[in-house]
Amino acid sequence: MLDAIVEIFKLILSVNFILTVITASTPLLLAASGELVAERSGVLNLGVEGMMIMGAACGFAGAYMSDSTLVGAICGIIAGVAMAAIFGVLTLGLAVNQVATGLALTILGTGLSGLIGAGFVGQRIEPSPQLHLPFLTDLPIVGRILFGQDAFVYFSIALVIAIWLFLYRTRAGLVLRAVGDNHTSAHALGYPVLKIRMLAVLFGGACAGLAGAFLPLAYTPFFIPGMTAGRGWIALALVVFASWRPGRLVAGAYLFGAVTFLQLSVQGLGLGIPPQVMSSLPYLATVVVLVLISRTRGTAGSAAPASLGVVFVPDR
């Protein structure tokens, strides 16, 4: 038993482990960042998984036909935005229930990505290149971790910082949070609630699409139907786990990434922990966190945007 624990520690501290966790966490972080902004504006889009898998299929298609990772990433983003636009038109334009629409979006995305990706199954592309700086990347230990990643990884970190700055240091971010917390007051103050929410939803779609595109472009160099494998749901959980704060989102993403990776290695160590326990940990942790933040902040759970998921139709 002790040996096994020592083994786990050795594993966690190894460079390879950290590299793998960064790769496993990046799609979670990308998708969750977008969803965080959408939820902060008061819109609960449960279609992250659907937008992601469409991003993966279209991203791969784009990269395969153009031989360019960048084109692939852009195709993924466009696919995510298109899916989010469907969601936005229904929930914001037609005041349809967000929960049902989000689930329908996931069902549609799963099916549509299968249709689009069917022709590309079995094809391979060049994986996204990794940064290589002379000297810096060759530094022991930190070199490859800090200076040897692909563009998606650096972008995801920059994205979270940008979101943090936007939400807490700009006027527009303040307005977005106000819209999410009380759409009636924001509307009364003259802010275009539905327009702001639409933009937030489209941004969420772009991030989810990019997160999906990351999988075939950088994670594995091929496309498999259903390759998001529930990462969209984990991203959704992550936003709640981070109690809607960008800083905690980074910590949460790397924690969830580590857990999903550990499930593979723990099995090999013969600790007697079933891999299914590790797989269900992110979801269980999210339920616990949700209960805790709802309890400590009063019954309304003020950590959550107060208007989250509530339909808004402006009266005139």
Binding site: G50, V96, L103, T106, G111, G190, V291
Partner: protein, 361 residues
């Protein structure tokens, strides 16, 4: 000029009746276009999808088998949704029900026990589903945690829990390393209705459930309370109805029905527990509930229609070489149209010249 949504003075009765039909018509047109894009004759495709299963006895039985869990889960969810309570974790409750009922079947496997086993399994399935559904309900009532998020998260916990059992402790030692339990004994199996058909007694059960829920909604105080809380939450609060009790009740009932559907599915058409017992019944049932206008009879019809899309999709895959994924595209689009058309009952779209509209609209 811009389009704006405007609340109607009163609900449109015409649209309320026609909206599911309009939604289905729009979906068929969209699917026809999609078939044309895929290079298939739309008329032939729609015929294979929606007409041929209806004139083939085998397909008809399969439609009933597929509709059984969808309707049973759907009517339970409708109780929640009418009261504006969001149980979206029916898939998890379905799995837990299947596991709890299967526990007895696995324990009594190969022993000479009486015919009480099956009723006891059904009871355990319903109980397990209800208890599992009460977790998000209690989290909401006691701590104010959003039941949407907790019930959804618990789906995956249930899935991995079941996966562990069938790959680990409950795996059939004679099962050639497949992750399944041993086949259930005949006394632990839902009897089939027609010799040699997969049509089973659970389908009769679902008809009874539909009637019971219809009575509950239309003829009891509890049903009145559910409808009132959904339609006028403030009025319900002022008249002293306990909203928390309603959350617990609707979650428990919908969980019990999902759990019952789970154990019936395992002890009926499948016959043993295995990791993929559900092609997402718990989520598809949400479409069924909305398509059926949250009305038990409507849900029965909607469940049969959704089951038809599953069977039609399988037939089309074989007959026309179209991908099975098309069924999901179809279901997603259908739900979009249903929701959009339903919105038109309460709202209407008006074209407003931008000069008269307020600047910030």
């Amino acid at each position: 000029m811009q389009l704006v949504l405007e609340r109607r003075p009163e609900r449109s009765a015409t649209i309320a009746i026609t909206s599911p039909l309009i939604a289905i018509a729009l979906t068929l047109v969209t699917m026809g276009i999609l078939f044309a894009i895929l290079g298939k004759n739309p008329i032939t495709a729609l015929d294979v999808y929606f007409i041929e299963p209806l004139i083939d006895p085998y397909s008809l039985a399969e439609i009933a088998v597929k509709a059984t869990p969808l309707v049973m889960i759907g009517v339970g969810l409708a109780l929640c949704y009418i009261a504006n309570i969001w149980n979206i974790g029916a898939e998890g409750q379905f799995l837990v029900g299947a596991v709890c009922g299967s526990w007895l079947a696995v324990r009594t496997n190969g022993t000479d026990v009486g015919p009480w086993v099956l009723p006891a399994m059904l009871f355990l399935g319903a109980l397990g589903g209800a208890l599992y559904a009460l977790i998000p309900a209690i989290c909401r009532v006691r701590f104010g945690a959003s039941e949407i998020l907790t019930s959804l998260m618990l789906v995956y916990v249930a899935y991995y829990g079941m996966d562990y059992l069938v790959r680990g402790p409950w795996r059939d030692p004679k099962g050639l390393n497949f992750p399944t339990t041993a086949p259930f004994d005949p006394v632990a199996t839902v009897p089939s209705l027609i010799e040699g058909s997969r049509l089973h007694a659970g389908t009769i059960g679902v008809l009874i459930v539909v009637m019971l829920v219809a009575v509950l909604l239309g003829r009891t105080i509890m049903g009145f309370e559910i409808r009132l809380v959904g339609a006028a939450p403030k009025a319900a609060r002022f008249s002293g109805f306990d909203a928390d009790r309603l959350v617990l009740f609707t979650f428990a009932v919908s969980g019990a029905l999902a759990g019952l559907a789970g154990i019936i599915e395992v002890a009926g058409p499948i016959g043993y527990l295995q990791p993929d017992i559900s092609p997402g019944y718990g989520f598809t049932a949400i479409i069924v509930a909305f398509l059926g206008r949250l009305n038990p009879i409507g849900i029965l019809i909607a469940g049969l229609f959704l089951a038809l899309t599953f069977i039609g999709g399988e037939n089309a895959e074989i007959a026309m070489k179209v991908p099975l994924d098309l069924t999901k595209v179809f279901q997603g689009i259908l739900l979009f149209y249903v929701l959009a058309c339903d919105s038109m009952i309460v709202y209407r779209i008006r074209l407003i010249s931008s000069r008269r509209a307020p600047a910030h609209a």
